[in-house]
Symmetry: D2
Subunit: 338 residues, 4 copies
């Protein structure tokens, strides 16, 4: 006797991210916890099938499901590599076992990168410079599990609102590990200047001898292995002491073009770093909420054993850059000017 | 010189409503202004390409773009039809031109149905009974353009929190126009009891002589015209004078089954009303944010001129049901047989 | 004991049509029966929730579910209006009851428009001019239910491969009904020239006295009723005999701009026709597979009773255009030049 | 002057695969090259943003873009591991350097797995048993780049239409490498019986001493590393020589339940293999067209050096299973019966 609908129409909310042209990741959207536009970027905190998720400028930054993968993969390889290569040697001013002590984080507003750094008991100073205090506030309010006030109020953390480029350029401080956790290098985007040779030269100068640099490097899904290998040939640390500028065929612009075809910027970032550091090692981690594998690059210089007058103190070291950094830098800059 | 991405990945938020199996309306979601779960239903206020939109239990209720279409199509045909059929006759107790005066609204929590009713200057009393005060509060806060406090505080409006069925069953008051603006008749849904014969018999009894009933009637997109015509045969005048509740051959379930095939409940609602009222007239309006044309049914009884002793007062009237419901039913069935 | 997946991942194929910016109709895609690119357009025959569907240049042309709505709404109002306004009068050369006899179809490659025309027993000649023989072949092969060979081989149908504009410009033949069933007036699209004043002047000249023109007119969903009404004021048949050019405020470009805001071209098409014909009447029909209500415009000229020397034959008629067509045409063209 | 639409509505075809509840991979669909339903499964060859793609039963099997990743990752680790562990030792009947010689492929209808196997010059016999000859025919016709007739007509390949389970159960032949390239272990799916302990016991018996087994193992994206490690504890090769049945707490059903939570079957497949083989090693590869990282498991038994009477021939070997296979097998089967 009742006129009823048996099949109820249903609606769903979706969060759809274009991974590449023609490919979308389409996620159920459970809620929008926060949406605002700061002076730097749009910011949303949403809940999807990956749990709470931070989105800035329309790109997923991290999600409850796999932010651990992203942040642990960013932090720990660089930290342990720094420890490994230094702790087994005797240094003039340091005792074994206390590497790394000082860490610089560029970006990192989610506070999760600092969280992972602070898990290393050797660390006694972390400087985190993020340009957008709104992101930090939003993460404190909505994503306390990422770190929140427990990280922000940590006595070993110094949080600076500002531009990472300016900070590293103007400071005299040196760090054992420098971690770049900023958004992808979009043309005219806020982080564009943090992925080029000029920036990397400055960063290298802010590393302690034996220090390690690491940066997130965007999508890695479409990077054919051959390309990364080939790109490696364009690196600087090719052992002939001339800073890698002999193979002039390596054109960063070519790399960029390749990367556009690939929908990836891992290879060009790695190659850019290889022009500055002795070693630039790409690696990847699967981050399902990004819809693809994610890339990182660790970069560092060789450490050269120096003769030292003071035998009592023991063998001292320096980075290889001491011996040829001026030349290399000049070569690189000459290349750039040409 | 910089490793940049030339094509920035983009994300969009979408609101996707299943219109029928295999068919979705996929709308850009600009923002979620409100999301809550009341005691009755889930409630969201979102912004899509149709502007601000109220969603309850996963179904679009109305949007800024076309709520005017929905609400005006619901209110004014019934109001004007009531005026038209009554105002040109002399009544014992009423003067020409003052129809309709009293209106009952079942549901209508968005306050827009009451808004349209109040535009009729003849109306001096509106009773609106909605079961979910949370919807009313949400609409006041987020959709003031729909009516909001201007309607809620209107001196001619009485707003009652409660169940429309109980109210009409328990009141002695009669209304010139009764408007049902409740959610679709979902099985086990909150409005299921407001679309059956039992309810319509009660409602008819609450109509003034010459009064008009109207209800929203769900999707109309897939209703073939033949079906509605044929379905008309299931009307009320089944000749036994008992109000049509002995379903002699007219099987509402058949209607329902048809409607399921059509993804529409307009035909069965019209047919259910035709079992109770002399006339049950379906009509439709295009409501783009619903993804389909929308159905309504106006129902009313014939008014029969009665002999009246008191010639001074003028011709009096009653509804046909008082005097000749059996005959009318017989006519309808005769029509069907021919 | 077996390592199995309990929930199998599933994939679906979808056909997604952008109805307007921010709004998509997302249909289940059951199969792709045909896909090709002719010299004129891309052509697909697919199966969706609406059954077999013809798609050209990425737009749904008609579907098994509701092609009857589209084609019947296009053909029969014009045919019956032509019959109604002529069959009750005596004509010099025609007897009562034989209107309409000749029909011109511009486009109509699906063969369904001709199918509906041929249902009128008065019709003894149908000329169908479609520019793309591939569409006709595809429809014959894949959509025989639309008409197919039964229509194409019909003795009363003449099918011409060619451009409707050239055909009507070059022929001396006149028709009782002219039906334009071509794709929407996209800028630089194949049918762009079939929706402007120049074409309509030519078409009017190919109509028999008492003839009727009709065209499909694109989406009607977003056209507010006020706009269509207001636009009506810009029409030519405003009763002052001057061809409607007194209200110079009617700017077709404004109409177009309005239509862009509305996502509809019904109003500007109606207004363009109103500059040429005495009457231009828009109407709509719900076509669910288009995701919106669809628009049509019927246009025709008044028929004026003339004095006639030969009383034996009876009253003769002409269209109003006999009296002022030259002036009107000149006015219109002058307007256009200004 | 013309009533045109400025923004043409557009449609797209999409191929949408549910990766997990709430998560979809939404790909542009360029064409459907083939669609059929064989006796075993539905089969489609489509073109997406990943190029030509084979889909069976609604799941992407491989795409032009990354089928190399999938197939090379499946084949070469097992092949090289087999070569590595055998070629440096002297065998009674084999000379150094000729491992692997014989390979069995279960499934592999795309012919790409056989293609990769045939790249190994040591291989002189490949038996490929696939249950669905339609898939093979479709791949030959539409995906010749995957291998096609060049593989099917290869003199070293024997292609058998049939059930891999029956074949390995009934044959007396032994193989150096056994590769399972069948669809995922769906409940009641065609490949369900190819992922359980019973099948793996049979398979182990068909491996030559020193042989290696490998299977694709479904999605790996959501498998936390800890779980795989923990599950590893349930393996048989735990070094205590009792076949791993001491940790009775390892319940395969628990693994399955975990896997359902994870949307992954890599862990339970690995654990099931660990009940049968001394070693069961999971590994993953990123396959973007699957929307996630993909899992594989290599399994093999230790090779035990035996005393041999004939010193002239050299040291002989056997697999560890010689020493305790009966017990282990009995244990496993006892477990299963309980």
């Amino acid at each position: 006797k009742t006129a009823i609908e048996y099949q109820r129409a249903k609606s769903t909310f979706r969060y759809v991210e274009d991974v590449s042209p023609g490919l979308r990741l389409d996620m159920e959207l459970h809620s929008v916890l926060h949406a605002s536009i700061s002076e730097v970027q749009s910011i949303q905190v949403i809940e999807t099938c990956f749990g709470k998720t931070l989105v800035t400028d329309g790109k997923t930054q991290s999600s409850a499901h796999d932010e651990c993968v992203y942040h642990e993969s960013l932090v720990h390889p660089a930290m342990f590599w720094c420890a490994y290569r230094n702790n087994h040697r005797r240094h003039r001013h340091r005792r074994d076992g206390d590497w790394p002590r000082s860490v610089f984080i560029g970006g990192g507003g989610e506070l999760a990168t600092a969280r992972e750094v602070l898990r290393h008991s050797t660390v006694n100073r972390v400087v985190m410079v993020d340009i957008d205090p709104t992101v930090v506030d939003v993460c404190r309010a909505h994503l306390p599990e990422w770190g929140g006030d427990a990280v922000l109020d940590h006595p070993r953390l110094e949080y600076v609102v500002g531009d990472a480029l300016s900070y590293v350029r103007d400071t005299d401080e040196k760090f054992d590990v420098i971690i770049m956790d900023v958004t992808d290098p979009i043309e005219y985007g806020p982080a564009e200047a943090l992925y080029n040779v000029e920036f990397y030269i400055i960063v290298r100068d802010r590393l302690e001898i034996g220090g390690v640099f690491v940066t997130q490097a965007g999508s890695a899904s479409f990077v054919p292995m051959e390309m990364t290998m080939e790109g490696g040939g364009g690196g600087r640390g090719d052992g002939d002491g001339d800073g890698g500028d002999d193979d002039d065929g390596v054109d960063v612009h070519d790399d960029i073009n390749d990367s556009v075809e690939d929908g990836s910027c891992l290879a060009p970032i790695r190659n850019t770093l290889a022009r500055v550091f002795d070693h630039a090692i790409p690696y990847t981690a699967p981050v399902p909420s990004f819809g693809e594998d994610w890339g990182y690059v660790i970069a560092y210089d060789d450490v050269v054993v120096l003769d030292d007058d003071d035998d009592d103190v023991g063998t001292d070291t320096t980075t290889s850059k001491k011996t040829h950094v001026a030349d290399v830098g000049r070569d690189v800059i000459d290349d750039m000017i040409e």
